[in-house]
């Protein structure tokens, strides 16, 4: 009796989540397979004919192969800023967790402020222009580092607090120089939280739309999120291409999700509970 009720409950849950969460993705996939006429109907129907490859070709070569540029730009921004984030945040997290000084309170306050305060957009643009960094990939990378540091520091600090301090002292007694303690003893031990950091921040930076919109104008600087707007102005109703584009930029997060599901959830919940 009980198990029958839970069986029905389970089937109902699967059906409901299928309708709410899976059907929108199926819709994206179906639209990406359609030709222009059929996609204009915007209904949930089987594609008549296989048009995915020609849609893909069309999407990639639009606006002088903008998609290729965008993927290169987005990958560069993501890889470089995540690398910088990891080194800088791990260094801060290490000293912050180990050394208690009167500065700790101020630093914690700045971290919380960074998580809460919305960036002041126009003054940042003004400043980037002054530094000759406005509209450059370098500028965008530094912005991503600045905006995402607080979250990474929180992740690292919490993890470093669980590594016993005696380890540092033992290393010194064994003759390690001070910098070796961090770079050769601690940093390798942080690998689990580093993976979490890499995964969570990569997805966030890759999916970021607002910051490139403000700080990285210009076609040669396009990032993948901005390519979605190609088909609204130029083709007005090329729904097959729009959804092929959506499908294309959903693939990287999907791959990350398949391989690092556990780390993502761990990172997002850990960071969230501490923050």
């Amino acid at each position: 009796m009980r198990s029958r009720a839970s069986l029905f409950g389970g089937i109902a849950a699967i059906a409901a989540t299928f309708v709410v969460f899976v059907i929108p993705f199926l819709f994206i996939i179906l639209m990406a397979f359609k030709d222009k006429q059929q996609s204009a109907l915007r209904d949930f129907s089987w594609p008549n004919g296989f048009h995915l490859f020609e849609n893909l070709y069309e999407v990639i070569k639009t606006r002088n192969w903008m998609m290729i540029t965008a993927f290169i730009n987005s990958s560069l921004i993501t890889v470089v800023s995540v690398t910088l984030l990891i080194v800088l945040a791990a260094m801060v997290g290490f000293v912050l967790a180990r050394r208690k000084t009167k500065w700790n309170g101020l630093i914690e306050f700045l971290i919380l402020a960074g998580l809460m305060i919305p960036p002041a957009v126009v003054p940042t643009i003004w400043l980037l222009q002054g530094l000759k960094l406005f509209g450059t990939l370098h500028g965008m990378i530094l912005i991503q580092v600045a905006y995402n540091l607080p979250f990474s520091i929180i992740l690292y600090r919490a993890f470093i607090a669980t590594i016993p301090r005696e380890l540092d002292e033992a290393a010194v007694i064994d003759g390690a120089r001070p910098l070796d303690v961090f770079f050769r003893i601690i940093l390798p031990l942080l690998w689990p939280v580093t993976v979490t950091n890499i995964v969570v921040q990569s997805v966030g930076i890759f999916n970021d739309f607002t910051n490139p919109l403000y700080y990285l104008p210009g076609n040669q600087n396009a990032t993948v999120q901005l390519t979605l707007y190609n088909f609204q102005s130029q083709f007005s109703t090329a729904y097959n291409l729009l959804f092929t584009n959506i499908l294309l930029i959903t693939i990287p997060p999907l791959i990350v999700f398949m391989f690092f599901n556990r780390q993502i959830v761990a990172g997002m919940t850990a960071g969230a509970v501490k923050g």
């Binding site: 915007r42 630093i107 957009v121 003004w126 520091i153 930029i249 959830v265």
Partner: protein, 296 residues
């Protein structure tokens, strides 16, 4: 330990945890985040062309609270944050309770609910704009099949903001759910055992054990989604661009529109307003949520 060894260890400890480890992060953070934030306090009081700024006192702020469409943006922001965080708490909690029970296909359910969190917000927004089309959209066509005339989700000024908020919940509830799951599995089984011996029903179990003991998770979900809701820009921009009219404008979309229009001082004042709004609402909220309860 001899007296002479003490200072030696002290010196060593200092160089073990060198203060300059803060320096690179501090430089990037101060120059690109702190400095513009502080500068915004001044530039919000000016008429500004990026080349020169004329000091005009609180005129920008006065305008913010005089123009009806700017006031609406402010009200919308709060409504949006309340709706999204409220729904994420309720739905996230329900899903988490379901996913921590003995239900089949837990892995599938969890993945499917969480995956939208990782997908591009703009992509989600554009997809749902198509799905929510009043006549051609799949949602209203499905409703028509069972004889319901669906509303004009994004074209009805009364509904547009609410529709965007629903999509926000669709995309973000997975995060709320995993935070709740982490909170629920941390509740010791003894409490449920004791409740069972006392003859508690399932509902009593939920309201007197699960709900109070998952309070830290609730605090996290509310704080996170409330701040996120107040700052929201990309989903609104992808779906309605603040329309129809100004019906779904938020402070963040106003900031962008004023920036595009070249009103840099007013745009920066919008930033300061949003900053104050977050501080005024979120600080008391987190203090309330994290306060010690009487019986603890």
């Amino acid at each position: 330990m001899t007296a002479s060894a003490v200072p030696a260890l002290k010196i060593q400890r200092r160089s073990l945890y060198p203060g300059w480890f803060y320096a690179p992060a501090a430089v990037v953070y101060s120059v690109l985040f702190l400095a513009p934030t502080l500068a915004s306090l001044y530039f919000s009081l000016t008429r500004w062309t990026l080349f020169d700024a004329t000091f005009i006192g609180f005129d920008n702020f006065a305008q913010f609270f005089r123009e009806p469409f700017l006031i609406q943006g402010l009200v919308n922001t709060v409504i949006y944050a309340v709706i999204t965080s409220g729904l994420k708490v309720v739905v996230g909690m329900m899903l988490a309770v379901m996913l921590t029970s003995q239900i089949m296909a837990r892995g599938y359910l969890r993945s499917v609910i969480f995956f939208p969190v990782l997908v591009s917000t703009i992509g989600v927004g554009m997809t749902f704009t198509v799905l929510m089309h009043p006549t051609l959209g799949m949602i209203n066509q499905s409703l028509a099949l069972i004889g319901i005339k669906g509303p004009g989700w994004l074209v009805d000024p009364k509904l547009a903001l609410f529709s965007v908020a629903l999509v926000d919940v669709w995309k973000g509830v997975g995060l709320a759910t995993v935070i709740y799951i982490a909170g629920l599995v941390a509740i010791p089984k003894d409490y449920y055992e004791a409740a069972r011996i006392d003859g508690a029903t399932k509902l009593q179990n939920f309201f007197y054990v699960t709900l109070p003991l998952s309070r830290p998770a609730t605090a996290t979900v509310i704080t996170l989604s409330f701040i996120g809701g107040l700052r929201t820009f990309d989903l609104i921009w992808a779906m309605t661009k603040g329309g129809p009219g100004f019906a779904s404008d938020t402070v963040a979309s106003v900031i962008y529109k004023q920036y595009q229009a070249g009103f840099y001082g007013l745009s920066t004042a919008g930033n300061v307003v949003l900053f104050i709004l977050i501080a005024v609402l979120v600080v008391p909220l987190t203090m309330f949520l994290n306060r010690k309860q009487g019986f603890e």
